[in-house]
């Protein structure tokens, strides 16, 4: 199965980028049937070519607890079910260059359309190391690379380095997590010719990010509320900020829970189970919601107007 050329992918990367949860059963095994079902469900509910993309094995997909064999199986399942109706991008992150290249090549072989890569983390990479890392990565791949500026986990890549990286052929998009509006705008304006700019700061930041030049946003909530995330993206894309503000209010409790309890994955899977969606359970070391956290779920669902 052939992936997309980097130039094509650049054009296709817009809209709602769903960071797909990885469904595990209660014994901790990957449920491939659920992976397939979730892929179908998201496409059926509107995440398609031109409106979004599916992101497998991001950090919110618990990529840190999935092994290499499982990764291949998951990617293959998503790619097969997607049947080219929506781009499939795979998070490939590790602490060293060789491993990242290996993960990317493996994703390419499994049929992914692109990869999403932050600089190697854990140690703090220098500018020269970041440049060399992406140079060797892009040389060993045919796929387009989404440059992930993950301010929280890694470093905030300097603007000058972003400009150099943007000129590399296969780097086609920037997932930017900065919450500094002016910096976001300056980056977006300078890099728009080379890269598709995507908001990694979540739904509450989406109106501002779109104004600053983003073409879409990353979301975990889209796993169970794809329509709501699509509505928000459309309102922002049409500069209907009044409507965008009304829609983004529905995410407030969800985002607050993520920020305060730091259990975004567990919450998302819990809501998915409630709604009969194939989200499955979390894998250790993640722990389920506590009884008091459980008490918040109904309120969050009510605010998002999910029913169920």
């Amino acid at each position: 199965m052939a992936g997309t050329s980097p130039g094509d992918l650049k054009k296709r990367m817009k809209g709602v980028q769903i960071i797909m949860v990885t469904p595990f059963d209660q014994q901790g095994n990957v449920c491939i049937d659920s992976v397939r079902e979730l892929t179908h469900c998201l496409i059926d509910r509107g995440i398609q070519e031109g409106t979004g993309a599916l992101v497998a094995l991001g950090s919110m997909s618990e990529c840190f607890s999935v092994d290499v064999e499982e990764r291949k199986e998951i990617i293959r399942a998503i790619v097969e079910e997607a049947e080219g109706q929506v781009p499939v991008v795979v998070g490939c992150n590790a602490t060293d260059t060789r491993t990242v290249i290996h993960l990317c090549q493996s994703a390419q072989k499994a049929g992914a359309d692109g990869v999403m890569v932050m600089p190697p983390y854990y140690f703090v990479p220098s500018n020269a190391q970041i440049l060399e890392f992406y140079r060797s990565l892009t040389e060993s791949l045919d796929l387009g690379v989404v440059l992930y500026n993950n301010v929280q986990v890694c470093v905030d890549i300097d603007f000058e380095i972003l400009q150099e990286l943007a000129c590399m052929d296969k780097i086609i998009a920037l997932k930017d997590c900065t919450a500094d509006f002016t910096k976001f705008k300056i980056c977006a304006e300078a890099l728009a010719g080379e890269l598709t700019i995507l908001n990694g700061g979540g739904p509450l930041w989406e109106p501002q990010a779109t104004l600053a030049g983003a073409s879409g946003f990353y979301t975990l909530a889209g796993n169970f509320a794809p329509e709501l995330t699509l509505e928000l993206w459309r309102a922002c894309a049409q500069s209907d900020y009044g409507e965008a503000e009304r829609l983004s209010r529905r995410f407030v409790l969800y985002i607050r829970f993520m920020r305060e309890a730091r259990k975004a994955i567990q919450l998302t899977k819990r809501i998915m189970r409630d709604l009969g969606l194939p989200g499955g359970f979390e894998r250790p070391p993640l722990l389920p919601l506590t009884a008091s956290e459980e008490g918040m779920v109904a309120k969050i669902k009510q605010q998002m107007d999910l029913g169920g």
Binding site: E189, S239, E245
Partner: protein, 302 residues
């Protein structure tokens, strides 16, 4: 009670408090500054003795005298808000009542600072003041300076009091909190952004307007930017934002958190003898003045 934003409109300028070189309050220059702001349409309304007005360095007698002088100088040409915040509830209430006697349109009350009250304490502080006046009260959240955040739950409770009409939120630390506020307050509750750099972001999130210290000097550009955005000309508005942003950042050089010393230097350079800040704010250095002067000429303020 009508919405606070109907009275105060889009741009509230927090008036700089001029001092003479020996540190006395310069009431004459305050009047001149009011004429400047109104004459040039740099403001829709004026806030007296806010953070930018160095309320923390004024005696209560000076504050009340300043309220009086500005009221006379404005002569009904702009809506007026009195900054009546204080560390103690009793003192804030006393100042609020003075502003009411003087015929102010509203008061703005900063969250109680220094003593680190609980959310319940913050609630009772504002409740006591609001119930003690018939003026509309604007809450003022600036955790960067006050040390406490007015949480959305507390704002929700306060917004049920009839004359608590809005909040000014210094967005810097948590720019999306405005959405949390608007979620839990009535439609006519007016939310203002309180950070020059965030004026456009505030509008995107549905803010009623901005409290803009920078508008002393670039009020025409701020107004233009807001009007362009509100009429759907986003890219033009963004270009003004990008031109202004380095100027606003240059107001806080060398690790300064408080922009007033350099703002005052900028006003002096632009021909407004507002004098230095009172201690403990130290005056802009020669190098800081030189830097801000470059921005003023780039923006064609001088």
């Amino acid at each position: 009670m009508k919405a606070l934003s109907e009275t105060l409109k889009h741009i509230i300028v927090p008036l700089v408090t001029p001092f003479t070189q020996d540190g006395e309050l310069n009431y004459e220059e305050a009047k001149t500054l009011v004429d400047h702001l109104i004459g040039k349409s740099y403001c829709d309304s004026i806030l007296v003795a806010g953070t930018t007005g160095e309320f923390h360095a004024l005696t209560n007698a000076e504050r009340i005298e300043l309220f009086t002088v500005v009221k006379e100088a404005a002569a009904g040409r702009a809506a007026l808000v009195a900054g009546t915040g204080a560390g103690s509830t009793r003192e804030a209430l006393l100042l609020t009542r003075e502003a009411e006697k003087l015929g102010y349109d509203a008061v703005m009350v900063v969250s109680p600072y220094y003593c680190k009250p609980t959310q319940e304490g913050i609630y009772r502080h504002f409740e006591t003041i609001a119930r003690g006046t018939s003026l509309p009260v604007m809450l003022y959240n600036i955790p960067l300076f006050s040390g406490v955040n007015i949480n959305p739950e507390t704002v929700a409770r306060l917004s049920k009091i009839e004359n608590v009409g809005g909040i000014k939120d210094e967005l810097g630390l948590n720019p999306t909190q405005m959405t949390e506020y608007s979620l839990v307050t009535p439609e006519d509750f007016s939310i203002y952004n309180g950070d020059d750099i965030m004026t456009l972001c505030g509008l995107v999130q549905g803010a009623a307007g901005t409290v803009s210290g920078g508008s002393h000097l670039v009020g025409d550009k701020i107004r233009n930017m807001m009007e362009l955005f509100l009429s759907g000309k986003n890219e033009k508005a963004l270009q003004i934002h990008l031109a202004l942003d380095p100027f606003f950042k240059a107001l806080c050089p060398n690790g300064r958190v408080n922009p007033i010393p350099v703002l005052k230097a900028a006003l002096e350079i632009a021909g407004h003898p507002v004098g230095p800040c009172r201690l403990p704010l130290d005056p802009a250095t020669a190098q800081e003045r030189e830097q801000i002067e470059k921005h003023l000429s780039r923006l064609e303020v001088i």
